[in-house]
């Protein structure tokens, strides 16, 4: 830890100060400038969201006729926008169904790819087989196939699968097409998830695995009894990633979801398109869709950051 300016100033006059007074003054000046710039950036970053939050609590008339900053000079507060958005209300736009759709889409689309990827990552990290490295690099490379490249053929495959399999999309699709959404999100998540979890797994000391093997534990036992508990922080980290990704997704939902299972994002985009003037509904609707990921994110921020760092700064 560097000597901070206040402590330098508190140093009694008779002992030689660690930092000359001129340097200390300069440092204080720079740090004051630094704090000011940081403060401005932080304000610019926060004000847009703050404005939306204020708007979502203002009455319809106010939102449409004056800026949200007028709230401070002429405060009027209502929960009507949230009531309208959640229950339909006077405008008949209910987002509750879409909120439920988002939840129903997200839960399996987080659990399934993470479980599959943990298994695959274990095999890549600790089971010896021919062609392992080549296969792993191939999986790593595949994480860059932009999902755009796959969407249309995948949709065709869902609507009209070979061998007379049950179609996952279209009118006869089970659960209104939920299965294809889960499957698609799983597919798109796998390469990155396998790659990240593999990196974490390689950090587990090899001796641990060796000694377990000597004691007669098979791969399944090592995986379930040693690896999964050890990997929980990493799994959580990727879980938050995948959660945010699926919850916030628009493209996959637009392409694959039928109207009856369309998530919040799709609904919000259509609200923007059809009724660009219903600012109060947009504000509260957007905030409803922000609230849950924001809470999850703030609560599990530690893991999320760890996951970010593991994926990006190796070495």
């Amino acid at each position: 830890m560097s000597t901070s300016t206040p402590t330098a100033a508190q140093v009694p006059a008779d002992t030689a100060p660690a930092i000359p007074a001129s340097t200390a003054a300069k440092k204080q000046l720079t740090s004051r400038w630094a704090s000011a710039v940081a403060l401005i950036v932080a304000l610019v970053w926060t004000i847009p969201t703050f404005g939306l939050l204020i708007s979502s609590f203002r009455p319809e008339e106010d939102v449409k006729s004056s800026g949200w900053w007028n709230f401070f000079t002429d405060p009027s507060f209502t929960l009507q926008n949230y009531k309208d958005v959640l229950s339909g209300g006077s405008t008949g736009e209910s987002l509750t169904t879409n909120l439920i759709n988002t939840i129903v889409i997200t839960v399996p689309a987080v659990l399934i790819p993470i479980s599959l990827a943990t298994l695959a990552a274990y095999a890549f990290a600790w089971i010896d087989f021919k062609g392992r490295d080549t296969l792993f690099v191939a999986v790593f490379a595949l994480q860059i196939v932009p999902i755009q490249v796959t969407l249309v053929p995948l949709l065709q495959l869902y609507v009209d699968p070979p061998f007379n399999l049950m179609p996952l999309a279209g009118r006869d699709a089970p659960a209104g097409g939920l299965y294809e959404l889960w499957l698609s999100h799983t597919i798109f998540a796998l390469p990155l998830a396998i790659f990240l979890l593999h990196n974490f797994m390689r950090e587990v000391p090899g001796e641990l695995i060796e000694s377990a093997r000597v004691d007669g534990a098979g791969h399944v036992a090592i995986f379930t009894k040693i690896m999964v508990p050890l990997m929980m922080p990493a799994i959580a980290a990727f879980g938050i990633f995948q959660f945010l990704w699926v919850w916030n997704d628009l493209l996959v939902a637009l392409v694959f979801s039928s109207p009856q299972v369309s998530p919040m994002t799709v609904k919000l985009v259509s609200l923007v398109g059809q009724r660009g003037e219903d600012w109060q509904l947009l504000a509260s609707g957007a905030f409803v869709s922000l609230a849950i990921p924001l809470v999850v994110f703030l609560a599990l921020q530690r893991y999320f950051v760890r996951g970010l760092l593991a994926g990006s700064v190796k070495g």
Binding site: V41, G51, L119, F140, L244, L294
Partner: protein
């Protein structure tokens, strides 16, 4: 479909999945021999590889194939490289390419610069954690949500009416003419780019901040004793030390930028010359019904991403070899 039916299907899907997984693990756990290892590897990897093959490899192949065919729902004609020629000559498509170029040049650099400067500024400050959280928060917000937030900021009311958009209100407080931010090309594209910068700067800041904290303390201390000023410190110590992370951040944001679709869709719907490759793909495929051209665009996005990734793989190998 009722809510309970949806949750019922969700429960079935999850239970079915874990049932099959448990069965696979139970069946293979007794295997110990050399061959057994192979079966276990297959059991662990099989589901993932099958899904990746069916869901990524096969469709990618089909898309490349389709990019050589014209626009027709049934039996589109083979057109060779015509779609590619169209993409690089048609004036509308050239606008799309130009916009994509703006996005890819500006978003990664500006987000990284803001993230880096901010990380340095708040490093070791007493309010560091809180300050970082503020910049980081937009990452949790969907691009749809972010675009709605910024549509409020950019909103424009014509004539003398009261502005409800913050930026235009500031302009009119300053006595400057109000401006319709999302209407006038090419500037509207820059205002859309700001939305993505707003989202990505927090990502850059987090990675770079961790990297800055990993710089050896003695190095910083030695430089300080030599009388290195803050600017020199930044240029000659901080930036060179975090080079690998800078590259990772730049490439990650570049790839994310190439795929950006949500912001254009939400903020302008691709109107007023704001379309980009990723949005044009969607429009050609699902609105204009030109399967061949949309496949071509998808392939071009892929081609643009490939060199970035090869570079990243090389960096990764280098780090592992160390």
């Amino acid at each position: 479909m009722t809510t309970s039916e949806k949750f019922f299907h969700m429960a079935i899907a999850v239970l079915l999945f874990y049932g099959v997984m448990a069965a696979i693990l139970l069946l293979t756990q007794r295997l110990r021999s050399r061959n057994g290892e192979r079966v276990q590897a297959a059991a662990f990897l099989g589901p993932s590889l099958a899904l990746i093959g069916i869901g990524l490899l096969y469709p990618a192949g089909v898309t490349i194939y389709q990019s050589f065919f014209g626009a027709a729902v049934f039996d589109p004609p083979f057109v060779g490289f015509d779609n590619y020629t169209a993409l690089f000559t048609n004036s509308q498509q050239l606008t799309v390419l130009r916009n994509t170029l703006f996005w890819v040049l500006l978003t990664p650099t500006i987000s990284t610069i803001i993230g880096l400067v901010y990380a340095v500024l708040v490093d070791r400050a007493s309010f560091e954690k809180f300050a970082k959280a503020l910049l980081f928060l937009p990452m949790a917000i969907s691009m749809v949500g972010a675009s709605i937030i910024w549509k409020f900021v950019y909103d424009y009311k014509s004539g003398e009416s009261t502005q409800i958009g913050l930026l235009n209100q500031i302009l009119s407080w300053l006595g400057i003419d109000t401006y319709n931010f999302l209407l006038e090309p090419p500037w509207n594209t820059f205002f859309l780019i700001i939305i993505l910068i707003w989202i990505q700067a927090g990502f850059a800041m987090t990675i770079l901040s961790a990297s800055i904290k990993a710089i050896p303390e003695d190095m910083v201390e030695a430089a300080r004793l030599d009388g290195t000023g803050p600017w020199q410190m930044f240029r000659h110590i901080t930036v060179p030390s975090i080079r690998p992370s800078l590259i990772v951040v730049l490439t990650t944001i570049t790839i994310a930028t190439l795929k950006v679709f949500d912001i254009v869709q939400t903020a302008t719907g691709g109107n007023f010359d704001t379309s980009v490759l990723a949005y044009e793909f969607y429009r050609q495929s699902f609105v204009a019904g030109n399967q061949g051209l949309s496949a071509t665009i998808a392939v071009v996005i892929f081609i643009l991403v490939v060199p970035i990734v090869i570079y990243n793989i090389r960096q990764m190998r280098k780090l592992e070899a160390r």
